[in-house]
Symmetry: C2
Subunit: 565 residues, 2 copies
């Protein structure tokens, strides 16, 4: 039997993973990988950290853990993969089962036959379709070349002001990298909030932190025009007429699946613009697979197709396609629950499963949310704040989503909830979870367990919560609920909301009930720093006959608007 | 209806939690808590960090997150709990439903009636039954008083040498605390290894780190006698005759459930010496619950009873008993999967589910193990090593246990596996897990996912692994397998095992097959730094006809014995 010919197009993450997996499963196969650019297996998620100076050796983005650059020689020797750089695939002939290519350096052309073809053509950055987009100094952060340019900006120390267009993951990471390089940065986001994987009030906590770090943030506004002088950018004009001076601008408004090759070959393209694949990562051609940023995959919660251009998923998809290309369609990729995380200066912000807004967009109404704020470990171990918003299905308590932000250990929290969602766990399953506890790592009851307790109390009707958003809405609408801050006087002196609250420390409430509204039906909202004492206060009031008492979830720590102190 | 009388005995972790939960569910109940000592709600897991100087304010161990000391006044005002310190419960009259008490300060006695009684009498430290045990300078680290004593040792800087008897969690934490205080410490452990929740070869990696930090470790030896002079300890004599000089000794050989009160009252005591409770945390008396270190609970994997004296479980059990005491037996505690973690200088060591040794003790033979070593995040982000040993059931790949050690982010890894075990997930469920990825937090394929991939390859028969322990056994037995190190020459120069290996870099193997044994049935063992290249080398050899090739799992990073370099 002739050796199987596996042809892979794309050399970033998914392609090399597919090629390597195919090789491991079949030492006799011929495995060829075509890469349009000059680099292979770039750790592209690391670009912002190279730009921001976390490390200085550019080669670290291209190396194996043992320090060997992943160049064609490495692929040939270590993996027996024929990796051809500067080689653009120009057309697929599905009938002949060949791919036409062109060498971008020499202009040489040719065709290569395949038994199985794996497309990993990635995505291309979106750019705002506005005047001035071609000016010098406007870039994205999508390629090694982009990273080199922005790193040179850092190293040369000539640029004073930058505008980052787009407040998503890459935009925020880029803004941090430039700010850390001593550049004054303004982030411009068209939506009313940054980081749209978070619900508004959670994103707002992150935005406060970004602002506190000195980054300017403009939300609810888009770019109308890039302004230039002598062919170079000198400013950005926004849709509301504001003009921002700058010497560079970085477009980070997302990416679009790169599907030209697939579309020209008649492969099926989905409604979101990505290549359609089945659970085996196979296209509608039985000999062609597609993986990575160019495909649409399934959201495991909603069952709907999504675009999910993330490096971790690209690797997993590549591994599945590589195996199926060799062994037949024997393994499946289950899709994504849309887990993500982002470092934001001293904060982290992560999410898994559905946000409240995403649930609403998907018509999922049967949900309950809670917000919990606490430290990640004991105060005596230097614990830092984490704020979690948890979503569960009302009917059965099934966990649907979690967002976590703050300076504390967000990653562990998100990872735990991601596991819970993948496993189909309920709130009850988390209530008595057995997680690793010792003071250097966790509270005795981990923040996630306490969050489950709060959700359980809410599902059982014991905790009647109200979100900070709803409290703000009431106040803005001129409503006058009785607002009770249950902290101590010292705490109140040091920090307070100033939204018309009355301070009655928890320990004094039972003796000071006369200060509460005489009308037992009056609306009362209780809180404290994180709303544990607020909850206990509410229980005392309810036991004493007040009928309309709610706890502001997450307390002051979850309040994303201005405070009096 | 008269107010319900809830009486709680024990004021450390489980007792106060039960009392607080009862109060929250019933504002009208009378809740009384008896505490033999003078302190309440001590964060006892934090003692080693106070002793070791992580923080200096003793009150932090006794405070709420808002900085209020949890004393009787706090309990009365904030929780309406009548917490009586220096009050020892001396007998339970189950027929009369009363508890006799004695004030330890005044000697006053009395009785208290109860409707529901919750026992949280904790555990008492075991001490070696050897001569000299009463000498001055011999302590445990179980009480606030112990912590105060050992902290004074640190502060006074007079003690030069200490012996810690017992190499479990508390022993190791105490050894670190004393070592960090400038004291020369020797840990003496009767078993052949430290930290018995780990398998031998994993514990050995931790032991190597402890030794590298300057702590002396003696395993496989016990204390025969404490040696004294003028009533004060001056040394420890071991069973093999060795004498160790020291000025203090800390006994940390575990705890025994404190069940005297329960036993005297005729409550059922289990085979392991703890109070027998059902899933509602109820004893064999329908009005008496028991929680915390004094009870036996269920191992959720084996279904067998265990002692699990951990602060996180105590809190969860207390919450369940508090609710059941008020609301009837409506909620259940599912037991433990024995998740634990421990900081060990710059390492962490954690475990969840079954170890290989524990599986064997429980007669569970149908298992597969793999070891994976990798960094926790990319090298360019300062990634640090984690080594995981994963256990799965051979028949269906169900995940049964994981141990993780190393300087990297162990806690997240253990937490993820704990979630997987609680949810009953299989290796296949983890293979395409969607976990939070960004370079500051994780590899593109998280260490846990890569571990699942290795296990999958092993379960599918693609990876034929051999443990470091088995390799060592073969070498010690004089066997001469062909050992292939697949790393590069520079790496080999810098670090190598020196166990008779031949260096053939992965990239050269296909051209240097002639250097392999001519006999295609010869035993060959491949490895590299972490055994990814070792795995690829093995695949190449198998594809070229060698039939007896295995990969040493975890590579050099998992080798716990001495290296040539």
């Amino acid at each position: 039997m002739a050796a199987k010919r596996i042809l892979v197009i794309g050399g970033s993450a998914a392609g090399p993973k597919a090629a390597a997996k195919a090789r491991r499963l079949d030492e006799t196969a011929e495995v060829i990988l075509l890469q349009k650019g000059g680099d292979l297996s770039m750790a592209s998620c690391g670009y912002p950290y190279y730009v921001g100076g976390t490390f200085d050796d550019r080669n670290m983005l291209l190396c194996t853990p043992a320090g060997v650059v992943r160049d064609p020689k490495f692929y040939l020797n270590a993996k027996a993969i024929d990796a051809r750089v500067n080689t653009e695939a120009t057309a697929i002939d599905r009938k002949a089962k060949t791919v036409a290519f062109r060498k971008t350096d020499s202009g040489e052309t040719g065709t290569l036959p395949y038994d199985k073809l794996i497309l990993a053509t990635g995505a291309v950055p979106r750019v705002p379709p506005v005047p001035g987009i071609d000016l010098d100094g406007i870039t994205t952060l999508q390629s090694m070349k982009d990273a080199d340019f922005l790193r040179s900006v850092r190293d040369e120390k000539k640029i004073k002001k930058a505008v980052v267009v787009g407040g998503g993951l890459i935009g925020i990471e880029t803004a941090e990298a430039l700010q850390e390089s001593g550049i004054e940065v303004t982030v411009v986001e068209m939506l009313p909030q940054l980081l749209s994987f978070l619900d508004f009030e959670m994103a707002r906590l992150v935005e406060n932190h970004i602002r506190a770090k000195g980054v300017n943030v403009i939300t609810g506004n888009g770019v109308a025009e890039f302004l230039g002088k002598d062919g170079k950018i000198c400013g950005v004009k926004l849709k509301n007429g504001t003009e921002l001076e700058c010497e560079i601008a970085v477009n980070a408004i997302g990416v679009v699946p790169n599907v030209k090759l697939a579309r020209d070959a008649g492969l099926e393209i989905g409604a979101l613009g990505g290549i359609t694949v089945d659970e085996h990562m196979r296209t509608n051609d039985k000999d062609i697979y597609a993986v990575g940023d160019c495909v649409e995959i399934v959201n495991r919660i909603t069952g709907k197709k999504i675009l999910a251009p993330f490096g971790d998923l690209a690797n997993l998809e590549g591994r599945v396609a590589g195996e199926n290309a060799i062994a037949g369609d024997t393994v499946s990729f289950p899709g994504s629950i849309q887990t993500g995380i982002c470092k934001v200066f001293d904060f982290s912000a992560g999410s898994t499963g559905l946000s409240e807004a995403n649930a609403a967009r998907n018509g999922i109404a049967d949900i309950v949310t809670v917000v919990n704020a606490s430290t990640d470990k004991p105060g005596f171990m230097g614990g830092m704040l984490v704020v979690t918003k948890l979503l569960a299905r009302k009917a059965d308590g099934k966990i649907l989503g979690a967002q976590v932000v703050g300076p504390g250990n967000v990653c562990k929290q998100v990872a735990q909830w991601a596991m819970a969602i993948m496993a189909g766990m309920t709130v009850e399953d988390m209530v008595n979870a057995d997680l690793p506890y010792a003071p250097p790592f966790s509270l005795a009851l981990d923040h996630s367990i306490a969050t489950a307790h709060i959700m359980q109390n809410k599902l059982k009707g014991r905790l009647k919560g109200i979100s900070v958003t709803e409290v703000k809405r009431k106040l803005d609408a001129g409503e006058k609920p009785f607002i009770l801050d249950a902290r101590g006087p010292d705490e109140y002196e040091a920090m307070r909301l100033g939204i018309g609250e009355t301070l009655i420390p928890l320990g004094a409430i039972r003796k000071r009930l006369a200060e509460l509204p005489a009308d037992k039906n009056a609306e009362i909202i209780c809180y404290c720093k994180v709303s544990l004492r607020g909850y206990e206060a509410a229980l005392i009031l309810e036991a004493n006959g007040w009928k309309n008492v709610r706890v502001m979830e997450g307390g002051i720590m979850a309040w994303p608007w201005g405070r009096e102190r």
